[in-house]
Amino acid sequence: MTHILNIKDLYKNFGKETILKNINLSLEKNTVLSLLGSSGSGKTTLLKIIAGLESEDKGELLLNGKNLANKKPQQRNIVYLYQEALLFPHLNAFENIAFGLRLKKVDSKVIMEKVNHMLEHLDMARHAEKMPNQLSGGQRQRISFGRAMVIEPELLLLDEPFGALDAITRGKMQELFKDLAHKMHISALFVTHDLKEAIVMGDQIGKIQKGQLLQYATKKEFYKDEFSGVQKEIDFWKQINNN
């Protein structure tokens, strides 16, 4: 398999504090890598560096074999999605999804076709004319996904995108994302602090702790690692079951 993203020996400091230390990561094409980490572990900084919103102090980033150094965020074809949907409040659902296509001056007919197709995919066709404040949290997040995916980015960076949703909506969104990622051949880095979500969402798993990253070759390897927290979780549910 070919790698879409390669990171080699990446370092980042804020003042005297080291945020990321010797980060090495590789992501295969059309796969989702879950990055598990607690607050302040440096996972958001890592995503922002990949997106070009922060600069690295040292290291190399390659996207499809091409060096990303000195490339502006708008030249990278990498979309960064935040925990909040961050829909543009002055645009309706349709126009939010069409935003990236309009920036690229795509033909209006093509935009209409692509956006309507995306709305169908997201099961949001009947909400196309609604403004962001008329949509629920889950619906806003769907539109946010559509807005990112419609421009067919080479890489999608998701920073705890379901963190603000309730458990039921979160489950539905996880299913939707997995389905879309599979259908649209998406390569993504999915950051979460939730162990179960990391396992559900990722084809591969990595763990980021105190600025250092450990990428597991397979999910099995992750389950076997006594510090991954998986065994603890299993023991907990067994205990509940026995009681």
């Binding site: 960064y80 002055h90 309706n92 403004m131 421009i151």
Partner: protein
């Protein structure tokens, strides 16, 4: 009932001074103990047309100065406030922005005057604009500063990752979202400049006759009818702005962006 009374009270408190000024501007010969002026006609308003009255000229000088100050402050303040809001020294710059209001504009004018004299700006239209800008600009920063927040920064960054250039992001994201803040800044600064007297009088040194300067001249001459007449001109633009402000600030957002 109380709510209605308060509403009427508010309307009367706004409407009475305006109606009173209008009546005074139409009056002539108002001697004690008459309740109203002896004559009520448009003779004072004809004064506006006289070439030596210079009231119309003062009106347009004021309008020119206020528009320039409002446009410069609104546009430059928008850009600088963003740098300040995201700066590590945000609080320090904000303290600096409050200084003109702690000192008062007239004291600022006294401080500026020396530099304006040596640069030859005293008594000039440009000098008054620059002096007013120096006082209004920090106010513009104060108005804008809370508009730039972490969420807006994230929205701006999102636009970049979606492929938007700086100009596209400004035009399609920042500008539509900042419309209300921009209008608020423009209207507030226009009003500050429009009613400014002390600083304008000092830096203009009598050569730049704005409407407020004319009003004070008529008041000191004890010519209440002409003072009322120039006051009527003085309240025209603010009332127009108030109307536009009400129409535009609460407008329904457009839902479509232009390709």
């Amino acid at each position: 009932m109380i709510k209605k009374l308060l509403q009427y009270g508010f309307i009367v408190s706004i409407g009475f001074p305006v109606a009173f000024l209008l009546m005074l501007s139409l009056g002539r010969r108002w001697a004690y103990p008459n309740v109203l002026p002896e004559q009520m006609n448009f003779a004072n308003w004809e004064f506006l047309q006289r070439s030596d009255s210079k009231l119309f000229q003062a009106f347009f000088v004021s309008l020119g100065i206020s528009l320039c100050v409002a446009i410069f402050t609104t546009s430059i303040g928008f850009l600088i406030s963003k740098l300040i809001a995201y700066s590590k020294n945000r609080n320090f710059y904000l303290v600096l922005a409050y200084i003109p209001y702690l000192l008062s504009p007239v004291i600022m004018a006294v401080i500026f005057q020396y530099y304006f004299i040596i640069t030859g700006l005293t008594g000039t239209f440009l000098g008054v604009i620059i002096a007013q800008f120096l006082v209004a600009f920090p106010f513009g920063i104060i108005i804008y500063i809370n508009f730039w927040n972490p969420q807006l920064k994230s929205i701006e960054e999102l636009s970049y990752t979606l492929g938007g250039s700086r100009w596209q992001t400004f035009k399609k994201v920042l500008l539509p979202l900042s419309k209300n803040a921009i209008m608020l800044c423009f209207f507030q600064v226009f009003l500050i400049s429009w009613f400014e007297y002390g600083l304008t009088n000092l830096i203009g040194s009598g050569k730049v006759r704005t409407l407020t300067v004319s009003v004070f001249n008529f008041v000191t001459e004890a010519n209440i009818f002409y003072a009322a007449l120039s006051c009527c001109l003085l309240i025209l633009p603010p009332m127009l702005l108030l109307y536009i402000n009400k129409r535009l600030i609460f407008f329904v957002e457009k839902t479509k962006i232009e390709p």
